[in-house]
Amino acid sequence: MIRHFDTGGAPHFPPQTTVRSVMLQVIYALLPGVIAHAWFFGPGIVVQILLACGFALLFEASCLAIRRKPLKLFLGDFSAPLTALLFALCLPPLAPWWIALVGMFFAIVIAKHLFGGLGHNLFNPAMVGYVVVLISFPQFMTAWLPPLELASWAPTLGQVLSTIATGHPPGGLAWDAITGATPLDTIRSSVATGKMVSEARQAPIFGDFGGLGWEWIANWYALGGLWLLWRRIISWQIPVTMIGSVVLLGLAAYLADPGSNPAPLQHVFSGALVLGAFYIATDPVSGCASPRGRLIFGAGVGIITLAIRRWGAYPDGVAFAVLLMNMMAPLIDRYTRPRIFGQPA
């Protein structure tokens, strides 16, 4: 039986896409991951998100006022809160409050408004903010908590707030006592001391594929990302080539030398790879615009991330990889311009 749909005559107007609706949908897609993060690592992440959002809106409002732009329109488009959310998701849950302040200053003022505001920024603002605080305050940016089920000390909300406000853990605890190495750190330091990856993976912080807890957070991020794909908010090229290049190259390295290279799925499910593939590298402003360009862009981010994890000075490299490929994006777009229909290439 043939189904009939009520269709009016042409022309058909597609539903309007606004910046506000796109940003809001990305934020919704991130929420399951945020909840999972709070489930595994405690309420710190929620406090960081709120702090970063507050600072982001503050800087956004002051920049708009200085530039004499309409406040209501740009503050209501949720681009600043999304930047803040992506930034806060990269922070250790107990980072002091001024980390968010500095990060958001660089993200909103330097990376976004000095380059001309929304739609004109060369670099992904959230990643600029994150990289600035990462290389400036390594001591605070490496203070990661172990998952709650392994932790000897589970902070209450009050303790979380006081740690973020003062920059010291409560009750005279030392940072070293409550923080631990992340899965990527563990693999890195074990390989550096001559251990096999399979030995390093015996540590309790590892789960089935990635880190305990981390892999579930990555799953929820991926679910939200798939929803965004289905909603056509992001295109498939960047996530597919980014994760694909990591899996393929990771597989090659793993088969060649399984002792010092983690399995490819371990790479995918640890660090910020899934978050980066669906939410950060897919930024429509600072990434590539052409479909073929996006393939190259995603692969580039994946390859650089893998290279930094393997040889770099930092355990994870998604943020650096995204910024480096942001620099390349205009050039890639230039060489991958789609052919105009009916004209020679």
Partner: protein, 228 residues
């Protein structure tokens, strides 16, 4: 060219550090602190004055085909002399600035002024030009150094004793006690960002000044029209 014009050009309008962007390598590399900036800035200024005078004096003797090698020789001898002087009198500062003292030779600003100004002008204006250009470069170095030092360490004029001896101990300021430090400002990317911000500040001042002078003129003009 009038002396006033030369001074304004060197210090502000054609500032080597902030407008022409010559000599970026030392500008970005040594400006971790204000004192390093002053040290290298003064050394560069001295080099510029000496090399400008020497080039200007020899301008009628040199054939144009070989002028560039001759300038390089002159500048290299001046820099070598200054390097030896600094090694003798400011040994600690010399060790801090390190390779950047001999590298003054390669500072394009110096050969630029030799070619653009000293080879066409008499010695006295050339000396003034060297002084103004050098001080302008020094200004950029100090501004950049002070900015990076305050943001990066929360101090100002630290290690001033390298340059001013015992008096320098008094100059050192700790602006923000218990400052955790901002590593980015000390790293190369911080130097680039700070230089960009300084250039933006200079452009902003310039456009403000232009606006003011335009406002002055437009305020005067209607009055003239009305009386006419």
């Amino acid at each position: 060219m009038k002396p006033r014009q030369i001074v304004i050009d060197g210090l502000w309008r054609q500032n080597t550090g902030l407008v022409i962007l010559l000599g970026l390598c030392p500008l970005l590399a040594v400006t971790g602190t204000a004192i390093n900036g002053i040290g290298l800035g003064l050394a560069t200024t001295l080099t510029l004055v000496c090399s400008n005078v020497a080039v200007s004096l020899s301008r009628c003797l040199l054939r144009p085909e070989i002028r560039i090698p001759a300038y390089v020789l002159i500048i290299a001898s001046v820099v070598t002399t200054i390097q030896l002087l600094m090694q003798a009198w400011f040994h600690d500062l010399y060790r801090v600035l390190g390779i950047f003292i001999p590298l003054i030779v390669t500072n394009c600003a110096i050969i630029g002024r030799a070619e653009a100004f000293a080879s066409r002008n008499p010695p006295l204006p050339s000396a003034l030009d060297g002084l103004a250009t050098g001080l302008g470069f020094c200004l950029a170095l100090v501004a950049l150094g002070a900015f990076r030092e305050v943001v990066g360490h929360g101090t100002l004029f630290s290690q001033a004793q390298l340059l001013f001896g015992d008096f320098g101990e008094l100059l050192q300021l700790t602006l923000i006690p218990d400052y955790p430090g901002f590593l980015l400002a000390m790293l190369p990317p911080g130097a680039f960002i700070a230089l960009g911000l300084l250039m933006a500040a200079r452009n902003w001042l310039n456009s403000k000044a232009a606006q003011l002078s335009r406002a002055d003129r437009s305020a005067v003009q209607p009055a003239v029209e009305r009386t006419a």
